[in-house]
């Protein structure tokens, strides 16, 4: 049921890039798990609404008041690559493609 195409698709959605051996193992594990959760097919559910959250069903609003933020320096310090208070990332727009 879980073929290579599905595993590759789900890996892409997950932003994971595993090697062949890892993928094979995962394929087997996922098949086992999906077989196991297949037991839910026994139960009739069409009359019942989905329940994503138990108690709270409404949004929580607050006044739009300025508050002190977390210290920027301490927050940015967790980034492996940074310049001053900025996060550094690889170039996202290829150079030289413009016509």
């Amino acid at each position: 049921m879980i073929d290579d195409k599905t595993i590759n698709h789900i890996s892409r959605l997950s932003r994971l890039n595993m090697n062949r051996a890892e993928k094979e193992k995962l394929k087997k594990d996922m098949e086992d798990i999906i077989n196991y959760i297949g037991i839910l097919n026994e139960i009739e559910v069409t009359e019942t609404e989905p329940l994503p959250y138990i108690f709270s069903t409404s949004n929580v609003f607050r006044e739009d008041v300025k508050k002190e933020s977390q210290p920027v320096k301490a927050v940015v310090a967790n980034a492996e690559e940074r310049t001053e208070n900025y996060f550094k990332v690889p170039r996202t727009i290829e150079a030289g493609n413009g016509k």
């Binding site: 994971l16 959250y53 977390q70």
Partner: protein, 484 residues
């Protein structure tokens, strides 16, 4: 005076009466952890310096009469998925190996205000995903009851640190049984509060509609004292409840007369260790002798709880863990050519196997073509299970069951078969699917000498029922006292 045999409340009382100094307790505890923890690997970080500083501050406030709560000055430690400002919070993952939060979780903030002294951060399954505490990037936790066995998971460190007397109490988190099952395996006591009782602010998210922080301690009284401190409304958590908080210490009352306790027939049809079954049914009999009305009943649809749980939990996990991109914080792969490669390589190298498995499963059940068949269906099953529990609580004050189908498992035997590992959560996941409060406490030992856990589940916001029944049972049976 051996402070390590004391409960948290006993030590707190001695500190309050100034028979023991806070600094003295902290120094002894740190020394004990350094000597002992090599055996158990319960700690990821010991924050000695911060603890010594806080000890002086708390002692000063006690002397000035500004702090007089029952836990003031008592050392504790928390699971490493609870954010502590300036102290590493790793989630036991390579991904967060060097992460230092800039803020405290609300539960930490409340404990600090009550005079708690944080001694360190405790080991766990990576991102709280696992039932054995073996998926930790920092190595497996060992059960103080038998170091060849797992302390359970995912709060294996918090349970082991209490069971080994390294610490007086700890905080764990419970998404599918992660407080209760390790307590069961280590002979400790723990509470998973009603969803919304304790703020999730600063608890690193796994499955947000299930996650709750709760206490792990040596007995019911200590759990009640800790729960008193950490519970209550917090505007920083959108699902935090404004419901009446109450004083859980007032529920430490002996007596279960007129209490109605239900035993779900279906649970005892599941495969479980015979000694666990006997001990739990014996505990039920004790409740009857103590004056409770105990009867069997049918709790429909519970056999679907574990599959429904794993579908929903993995779906929520796949979404929550999409934040780990290697950029703002967390592990970052080096020398990546472009942003896609940076995301993929950081995540592939930064996450362990079980975490990747759940992200993949979550994205599978949420993906186009499978969403209705799996995710949406699981949410409907969740509703059916909730109604089943609602119906039961029209009749009963408490539902009684084992916490886990077995006693502590040998290290190295669980991870190879995920389905088998997941199915061990049969008794605990329903409380998370339904948001209900659950407690576990020891109710005996098997012939190998390993502790057996008894689980009590109550109606929403009725931790009071669990605390009263648990306290009565514990006073009557004396399992904890008999051991130490």
């Amino acid at each position: 005076m051996n402070i390590f045999n004391m409960t948290a409340l006993q030590l707190g009382e001695k500190i309050n009466k100034r028979e023991i100094g806070v600094l003295e307790a902290v120094k002894e505890a740190v020394k004990y952890i350094k000597d002992t923890d090599k055996k158990y690997n319960a700690f990821i970080t010991v924050c000695e310096e911060e603890a010594l500083g806080r000890a002086e501050d708390v002692q000063k406030k006690i002397n000035e009469g500004k702090l007089n709560g029952p836990l003031a000055g008592v050392p504790m430690a928390v699971k490493d998925n609870i954010c502590t400002s300036g102290i590493k919070t790793t989630c036991a993952s390579k991904m967060l190996e060097n992460f230092i939060p800039a803020y405290n979780a609300e539960a930490i903030e409340r404990l600090y205000n009550a005079g708690a002294i944080l001694l360190g951060k405790l080991n766990m399954d990576e991102f709280a995903m696992g039932s054995t505490s073996e998926t930790s990037f920092f190595g497996a936790v060992k059960n103080p009851e038998d170091t060849g066995r797992s302390p359970g998971g995912s709060s294996g460190g918090p349970a082991a640190a209490v069971a080994s007397n390294e610490i007086w109490y700890s905080l764990g988190s419970d998404t599918g049984g992660s407080i209760r099952q390790p307590c069961s395996f280590t002979g400790t006591t723990g509470i998973k509060p009603t969803y919304g009782r304790v703020s999730r602010y600063g608890l690193i998210a796994y499955a947000s509609s299930f996650d709750q922080i709760g206490p792990i301690a040596k007995n019911v009284s200590d759990c009640a004292a800790v729960l008193n401190v950490i519970s209550g409304y917090d505007e920083k958590d959108g699902t935090s409840s404004k419901s009446e908080k109450g004083d859980f210490l007032k529920n430490l009352v002996y007596g279960v007369e007129n209490m109605k306790i239900g035993i779900p027939r279906e649970y005892f049809e599941e495969s479980m260790d015979q000694e666990v079954k006997d001990a739990v049914l014996n505990a039920a009999k004790q409740f009857e002798i103590m004056g409770a009305r105990v009867e069997e009943f049918s709790l429909e649809a519970v056999k679907y709880a574990v599959p429904a749980y794993y579908i929903i939990a993995s779906a929520e996990a796949s979404s929550n863990l999409s934040r780990y991109d290697g950029i703002k914080y967390g592990y970052r792969a080096e020398n990546c050519k472009n942003i896609s490669e940076l995301y993929e390589r950081s995540r592939t190298d930064g996450f362990g196997e079980e975490v990747k498995r759940r992200i993949m499963l979550g994205n599978f059940v949420l993906s186009s073509g499978y969403y209705d068949a799996y995710y949406n269906k699981a949410l409907r099953v969740r509703n059916i299970i909730k109604r089943s529990f609602d119906k039961a609580f029209e009749k009963y004050d408490i539902i009684l069951s084992p916490t886990a189908p077995e006693t502590a498992l040998k290290l190295g035997e669980s991870l190879s078969d995920p389905v088998k590992m997941y199915s061990g959560d049969i008794f605990t996941v329903s409380a998370n699917l339904t948001g209900l409060p659950g407690m576990t406490l020891p109710c005996g030992r098997d012939t190998a000498g390993l502790p057996i856990g008894l689980q009590l589940i109550g109606p929403a916001w009725k931790e009071s029922n669990l605390i009263r029944a648990g306290y009565t049972f514990e006073s009557w049976s004396g399992y904890r006292e008999a051991k130490r």
